[in-house]
Symmetry: C2
Subunit: 332 residues, 2 copies
């Protein structure tokens, strides 16, 4: 881990500071959130994103609301900021329970604990995931699942990082990940700093790259995993899974256990956030579609468990049948 | 056909004028090409694009080169402007042969004939394709295959237009088509003018839209079709074909016979243009990836004939086995 380590957030003692990811890689600007309302707003507008990082930010936001005497309202605003990532609710509930039990000090301590647990979970997850790799693989990934997405070393990108350090990765093909370009903007930014070879590719090229034999493995993160192993993740993930199956490539999902939602029996139970169409019709501040054009903009899709080769968690690599392997790992 | 008909080019008597498609939909600017060199350059930088429209532009470019006394050099520059679309070579060779036979006047007459044949081919193609549609289908399309791409009423979009006029289409889902956004920019522009309901969607959402039951049919154009029915078309087409097969949706290709290349036995023989990575790392004039990031930018992919449900041409709807149906239609 170099001195150039990227972090999505830092707690300053009386406020949560977030690296505004909407401005990366062009500008590194930190924004200050003095209370839960500001944190919720930052989550909603994607200044911080990535399921685990959203959870961390919301944990600190909940701790701020405990300090400010608006715990219930603050927690509600945070949980409602985005609907799909389950880590958000999971983190807020833990901090809320700590606050109810032990007051603001206990709430902040819990937020800090969630952060250090996340860092440790990422480290272990990277270790477990790296065991899947052969030699010098060319890996395709989607969206951003690195330090910016988790506050640790990352989920899928953390696995890539560990595997690369051991010779298991020769190149990362980075889906640009429309509409918000988290791949081209954020994953490229992180890989650049880490010195891992990569090329950005249009999302639509994945099939052609596989057909030309340029991809050995697909690895992605998750925003919520159902009890049966269905995976909700950034829009485009399902398409990659279908293509990987056709080309007999391993399709790996890497996520901390906090991403698993035992209350969602299958992907059908997972709410999919629909975001504003202007994210599609406007690119980098420029309107590209005709004035008045409407767009569909589902932020996530659901990949059925049958397409998932392996599920990497901090507790080890889970394999099908997922209903059993997931139940087992959660019961430990 | 309304008065708002869009045209990609017009021959002014002593020059070819092209509607600069790189500026649409924001600006409608016509550029003047006084000779074959300017036409080749306009084709290379995508001021005119779409396999049939490239063919038309090149036909007029070749006629200009015949007038200017540089027939061979002009034709070579035009044919080399882009490698994948076969219509380009086909059109240039016809005009060149006419020039050799009958001089500049015959060359220009041939270019005009190719244009009127294209308009008529599109009309017939639309009629044949429309017969495939049921009632009020929701159709997914990729890239731009309308008037801007052909100079007539379009290939896939021409079919959609005819089918819509007969109640066969209720909505068009328009893949934005990265990297150059021909869907969001050009197809949306044409559908807007035609008054056909549409929504722009990120390319990566196609799988999710199909899984949610929002798509009844996929229809696309082609840049070159091999003798066995393999289809080279805009990057992302192959992915759509794989997804359509998984969801048991018809995957239809619409293209004039001039797009079929009997000299390419299969897709493997078709040269795939690799364009500059900056088209991916820069969006609408803004650099989105980190400075120095490299990108892979294959402009086309190949869809195997086995994934193509039907091939719509001006001579009728071809069905598998394509080696036979294609040979039959070309022998007529």
């Amino acid at each position: 881990v170099s001195g150039a380590e990227v972090r999505p957030l830092r707690f300053s003692g009386d406020a949560l500071e977030l690296l505004d990811q909407t401005l990366l890689p062009g500008e590194e600007r930190w924004i200050r959130c003095a209370g839960a309302t500001e944190v919720a707003e930052a989550i909603r507008r994607l200044a911080v994103r990535g399921a685990p990082a959203i959870g961390l930010a919301a944990a600190y936001g909940a701790a701020l609301s405990a300090r400010d005497g608006g715990l219930e309202d603050g927690c509600r605003a945070l949980v409602e900021a985005r609907p799909t990532a389950i880590n958000l609710r999971w983190a807020v509930e833990r901090v809320r329970a700590a606050a109810v039990e032990g007051g603001p000090g206990a709430a902040l301590a819990m937020a800090r604990r969630i952060e250090s647990q996340q860092v440790e979970a990422d480290r272990r997850l990277g270790e477990h995931g790296a065991t899947l790799f052969g030699e010098a693989e060319r890996v395709l990934t989607h969206c951003n699942t690195g330090a910016l997405a988790t506050g640790g070393s990352g989920t899928a990108l953390g696995v890539i990082r560990t595997a690369h350090a051991r010779g298991g990765v020769s190149e990362v093909l980075v889906d640009e990940t429309r509409p918000l370009l988290q791949g081209a903007r954020l994953t490229a930014f992180e890989l650049d700093r880490l010195g891992i070879p990569y090329r950005v590719v249009p999302d639509s090229s994945a099939g052609a790259l596989m057909a030309r034999g340029l991809v050995d493995r697909v690895i992605v993160g998750a925003d919520r995993i159902a009890a049966n192993g269905d995976v909700a993740n950034k829009i485009g993930t399902y398409t990659l899974a279908v293509l990987a199956e056709r080309h007999a490539l391993p399709f790996v999902v890497a996520a901390p256990l906090s991403t698993i939602d035992p209350a969602s029996p299958s992907g059908e139970a997972i709410p999919i956030e629909q975001r504003d169409g202007s994210e599609v019709t406007t690119v980098a501040g420029t309107e590209v579609a005709p004035r008045g054009a409407t767009a569909l903009n589902p932020a996530f899709d659901v990949t059925p468990a049958t397409l998932v080769t392996a599920l990497v968690t901090e507790a080890g690599v889970l394999r099908p049948p997922y209903p059993r392997s997931i139940a087992d790992v959660l019961a430990r």
